[in-house]
């Protein structure tokens, strides 16, 4: 099936049920009818959504859709023209800022400062310091493989390394709410994987995470719920698995040993070389097809119900709206 191992899923389910018990119905973020224009450009129009405590929430859309504007309004860096934002149950206050970790899209560090000094300064601005913070910094640097570079100046680091340091700085003060704006942008596959694992780890620790990205397919595996936006408007909002089920095409990917004869309920069969794509007639379920194949003693190497990637869903949604 998908690349995510079962154990991972299992953990995820366990921790999720635990979390729901812990903060029943609590909302990390409530955004209602928020609008913001810059001159003639509407960066956000009547956007409403909620982020539940302990979930990974994806803010998804193409470049220039208004994701960063929405995030900046969450952080009160920009004030909305209208609408209301509540963070951790109240309008953003200075004291609340200590409970939030924010990795902005436009990021940088003090070039002349060492990694460890940068981390201790930024975390002290979040109200944490002392040996516990230092210990946590060491652990996080070790996890990201940056520990050998802790006494280097930031200007000596590569761009990717600096990005890891920024991520560490974002979560060093152990925030309840983590907001990541395009966290994987510009990272190599190895570091992307590592960062994703760290984000999953944060969720296990019951943190609430907002993940904003234009690389929609990158975050499918992580997100519980998503808000998809385009040109400042919300186009799709809800549980990711429900959305994917809603936009499921009636097709199945399959690869088998030997020849694949005609199957009941399959309208067309495309040969993609390594695998076949079967388009079902709409009345037959994928399970029926699989059972049929097993009954015919066909060796099935791969069987996957095709759910369209988010990018495809996005295109379908946007096209559907404009038509």
């Amino acid at each position: 099936m998908r690349t995510v191992p079962d154990t991972f899923h299992g953990d995820r389910e366990d921790s999720r049920s635990l979390r729901i018990e812990m903060n029943r119905d609590s909302k990390a973020i409530e955004v209602s009818k928020v609008s913001k224009s810059f001159g003639d450009v509407e960066a956000a129009r009547d956007v409403s959504f909620e982020v539940k405590s302990g979930e990974i929430f994806g803010l998804i859309g193409p470049n220039g859709a208004g994701k960063t504007t929405i995030i900046r309004m969450l952080m009160e860096i920009i004030k909305p023209d209208s609408g209301e934002v509540r963070i951790l149950g109240e309008p953003l206050r200075e004291s609340t800022k200590n409970r939030i970790g924010y990795l902005p899209e436009e990021r940088g560090l003090y070039k002349k400062l060492t990694v460890i000094d940068t981390l201790s300064y930024l975390s002290s601005l979040k109200g944490t310091s002392g040996s516990a913070t230092r210990q946590r910094a060491t652990t996080l640097l070790e996890t990201t493989g940056m520990l050998p570079h802790q006494y280097k100046k930031v200007e000596e680091l590569s761009k990717g390394m600096a990005q890891l340091i920024q991520f560490v700085a974002t979560i060093l003060h152990d925030p309840e709410l983590v907001i990541l704006d395009e966290p994987f942008y510009g990272l190599d596959p190895v570091n992307t994987r590592m960062l994703k694992d760290m984000v999953s780890e944060l969720r296990k620790q019951s943190k609430t995470i907002i993940l904003s990205t234009h690389m929609m397919n990158e975050v499918e595996e992580l997100c519980d719920r998503i808000l998809m936006i385009d040109k400042g408007r919300s186009v799709l909002y809800g549980d990711l698995s429900e959305i994917k089920a809603r936009y499921r095409t009636d097709s199945v990917f399959i690869s088998v040993d030997g020849e694949l004869g005609p199957i009941d309920g399959v309208v067309t069969m495309k040969n993609h070389g390594t695998h076949y794509e079967l388009l079902l007639d709409g009345k037959t379920s994928p399970q029926r097809v699989l059972a049929d194949l097993v009954n015919r003693n066909v060796t099935v190497n791969r069987f996957e119900v095709a759910t369209p990637p988010l990018s495809e869903i996005f295109i379908r949604v946007v096209r559907g709206q404009t038509e």
């Binding site: 860096i77 920009i78 939030i100 902005p104 990021r107 940088g108 400062l113 601005l125 700085a169």
Partner: protein, 403 residues
Amino acid sequence: MNKTLIIFRHELLVTLKRKSFILVTLAAPLLMLVGYGIYQGVQSWYHPSELETKTIGYVDQAGGFDEYTSVGATFVRYPGEEAARQSLLSGEINEYFVIPSDYIRTGLITRYTMKRELEPPSQTMDSIRKFLISNLIGEETSPEVLERTKTPIVLSSIRLDETGEEMEGQNPFIQFFMPYIFALLLMFSIFFASGYLLQSISEEKDNRLMEVLLSSVSARQLLVGKVLGLGAAGLAQILIWIISLWVLVDVGLASIPGLSTASMPPGLIVLAIVYYLLGYLLFAVIMAVLGSIGTTARESQSWSSIVAMTAVLPMFFLTLIVENPSHAVAVAFTLIPTTSSVTAMMRLPTEGIPAWQLALSLSLLVAAIFFCMWAGAKIFRACLLMYGKRPSLTQIVRYVREA
């Protein structure tokens, strides 16, 4: 720890560790030392030649002018212009002059020299004057009167206060140099601190750290922490300079008349420090806000020079203010917050400032600082994230009203 304090400490430490800061801080006293060395060298080079006695030739067409020797010059009579010219060309005499026959009526004298000079050296002129006076009236009067005629005045001025008591002061150093030095110090502090503030804010704008900082602290905390932190660094720099200047004065400059005897009343020193700190704070806040408005460090820099010019403005009126401290211009400069510090530095040592002006000027200055902090934090906040886009004036006014 208070977040403003954390920013203050961070900015202070980072600046103190900056290489350029250390270099400039150390270079200034070194330059002073080198300058003092050059001054001493030039002095010892120059003095002997000044004491040299000049030989000046003259051609007496009017008649009755006898040869004469005074301090610094010996006058030698020549029968005719041709002979005098030959002596000058051969180097026997330094210069010569011709007293024409109608000298008594016109006073006209023609002087010949081979030296290029801007104007006749005062010492030579003095010698010639004394030579002429001796010859004109020397025989008609007593030697004492003759001497008095040559040097008619040796002046000593004493200032009286309202009760008729003699006052100390009338010290040209305190009257003129003290205000000058204080005003210069303040200006330097403003320029340097503004430089550090602009650099630091532009850096955070350029490297996009602003958003991270604003997600942790408020714009006001950031502004105040920065102004105070970088301000403290600037003050430390000035303090180091003052101390090294002090040492230099103690070691070397005590020989210069006036410097060694100069002492300031303590009340004046306190007021000077208060004005210094307040003036400094006002400009630091203004500079920080300017740093946030400009799109690039260079643009902010040019804006800041315009603002810094207002601090320099009273310097153009230095003579007027020092000589005439109650003039309307001086009073106006004392009350306007951006010029009050430098002007007060000038007026305090001379005549003092009337109590009402002092009170009003200080209140206005403090009010201006609070206003700039208040409005500044709003502009600062609104402008910090506007990368590559400079707000218009109407936009800035809107930020202040809205935010």
